[in-house]
């Protein structure tokens, strides 16, 4: 019998503080907003990119181009997944040549999503630089990929799951760690 055990890693206030710090770090990394483009990875990455963009805009007073990227068609395991994943919209704001693209995602784990995102972005143009910004780094990398900006680092094991909830889609902000609890089966 398996019953999941759920604990909060970041509550709404902690998540808000993390995002504010991440917005500042994005600005420092990109040295302002001139060439900055924020691209969120479907699903929750899009909302997080939107939040960071708003925070950056509030601080700098200039609009930041933002986009959405669905990496499903670039996955390396499409062959093996059961029902085909639903594909979300992809929208890239203008030409990426010469830009500093910051990819935003909710959780960095194996690194395979980021690998797919890099391949997909390359088909849209040749940015000057691509950086990676994630709310949660949960370790467990299977590819040589690291984030430039991290909201929080959490040690997890493969059976566990990190759920990022955002108000826009889930009603409230929270990051939770879901642990399967194994209880002995009745004899």
């Amino acid at each position: 019998m398996t019953r999941p055990d759920r604990s909060t890693i970041l509550d709404a206030r902690a998540m808000s503080r993390a995002l504010q710090r991440m917005a500042v770090e994005v600005l420092e990394l990109a040295r302002g907003t001139d060439d900055l483009v924020l691209i969120g990875i479907q699903r929750r990455g899009v909302e997080l990119a939107q939040r960071i963009a708003k925070l950056v805009e509030a601080q700098e007073g200039t609009a930041v181009p933002r986009g959405a990227l669905d990496i499903t068609l670039y996955r390396d395991d499409l062959e093996t997944v059961g029902p085909k994943p639903v594909i979300g919209p992809t929208h890239i704001p203008g030409d990426l040549a010469g830009k500093h693209v910051v990819i935003v995602d909710d959780v960095l784990y194996t690194g395979r999503t980021v690998r797919a995102a890099l391949d997909e972005l390359a088909d849209f143009g040749r940015p000057q630089r691509i950086s990676l910004c994630v709310l949660i780094d949960r370790g467990g990398r299977e590819l040589p990929i690291q984030a430039d900006i991290v909201g929080a680092t959490v040690k997890t094991s493969p059976g566990e799951r990190v759920d990022v909830l955002v108000e826009e889609l889930d009603g409230h902000d929270e990051v939770a760690l879901i642990r399967p609890v194994h209880t002995a089966a009745a004899p």
């Binding site: 499903t72 068609l73 639903v86 594909i87 919209p89 992809t90 391949d119 997909e120 088909d123 849209f124």
Partner: protein, 321 residues
């Protein structure tokens, strides 16, 4: 349970409303792929697809080929003329020989109704029906549904009339299934010689005059009048047909609301449709062609690697309509 498409796409008669909606929803993001600077995604990399066309086709074959190439599949085109089919090889032998070369999917157009299903039951590769005799042309109906949904926002409650040679039309048959399953009202309009007997039993309204159709419908899907029908004695002459059933600007001027005009192509201008209507502001005929590529990409994506068990499971879980 998430809807899946299964191994083959034979027709809309055997799909559930959920499966039809899955294809339409999946086509949405594929529209954007064709607008990219590099119109290609690696989803079907390494897949080999054979386009097996026993009947002439330009639009459908090219549309499938674009869809396949934009998904990075490798494609081979086989047409009946100039192949071993001319030497008397059977359909199954042709397909088994192709399969022996390790292909993954077959897109088939054939003059015999049932050819696609026959093939699908005999080979392991995914089979997509690109038109079989008078039976079905599912991807055409799906792209028609997508075009209607783009235009009206929904299919349920829409009034759609198929005008012309419904009797010989696989496009009409697939459209009727798809529209009814998604909750549209469907009518057919044409000379009685070109309407299948008993079509009312499907829940389809029969209109004898094109003027009635124009009064009733939100959209007209004008079917191609195959020129050989005249020799078959189904209509007296093409001019007579145009005079009685032609969709003309004069007739449309009397419509209570602007009518959306569709045509699966290729058009006979001045036979079933007036040029001014085909090129007019309410024509979505070229949108249909654009949507065709997205629909076919969606179908290829959803079927790739699909196993028969998945389709059966989906049918078992679905609510009967």
């Amino acid at each position: 349970m998430t809807a899946v498409l299964g191994k083959d796409l034979i027709g809309l008669a055997s799909l559930t409303p959920e499966q039809i909606r899955l294809v339409l929803d999946t086509a949405e993001p594929f529209k954007e792929v064709s607008e990219r600077p590099i119109k290609k995604v690696p989803a079907l990399r390494g897949k080999t697809i054979v386009n097996l066309f026993f009947e002439a086709s330009t639009r459908t074959r090219i549309s499938f080929e674009f869809a396949e190439k934009r998904l990075s599949a490798d494609t081979v085109n086989v047409s009946a003329s100039g192949s071993s089919v001319q030497k008397g090889e059977t359909l199954v032998d042709t397909a088994r020989n192709l399969e022996a070369m390790r292909i993954d999917m077959v897109v088939i157009r054939h003059q015999s109704s049932g050819a696609a299903e026959f093939l699908g039951n005999r080979i392991r590769s995914n089979v997509i029906n690109a038109g079989d005799g008078k039976h079905e042309h599912p991807t055409q109906a799906l792209l028609d549904l997508l075009t209607l949904r783009d235009k009206f926002g929904k299919i349920a409650g829409l009034k759609v009339c198929l005008v012309g040679d419904v009797l010989h039309s696989r496009v009409a048959r697939s459209n009727i299934w798809g529209l009814l399953k998604l909750g549209a009202e469907v009518a057919v309009c044409g000379p009685r010689t070109l309407l299948p007997r008993g079509i009312e039993q499907l829940g389809v309204r029969v209109l004898d005059h094109v003027e009635e159709a124009i009064q009733w419908a939100d959209a007209l899907n004008v079917l191609r009048l195959q020129l050989e029908r005249m020799e078959g004695g189904f209509i007296p002459s093409l001019r007579e047909y145009y005079r009685v059933f032609g969709v003309t600007e004069e007739r449309l001027a009397k419509a209570p609301r602007p009518l959306t005009i569709m045509h699966p192509g290729p058009m006979n201008r001045g036979v079933e449709i007036d040029s001014r209507v085909a090129d007019g502001p309410h024509s979505v005929i070229l949108d249909q062609v654009t949507n065709g590529v997205a629909i076919r990409m969606a179908v290829l994506y959803l079927l790739a690697g699909g196993k028969p068990e998945l389709a059966d499971a989906a049918k078992g879980a679905a609510v009967p309509d």
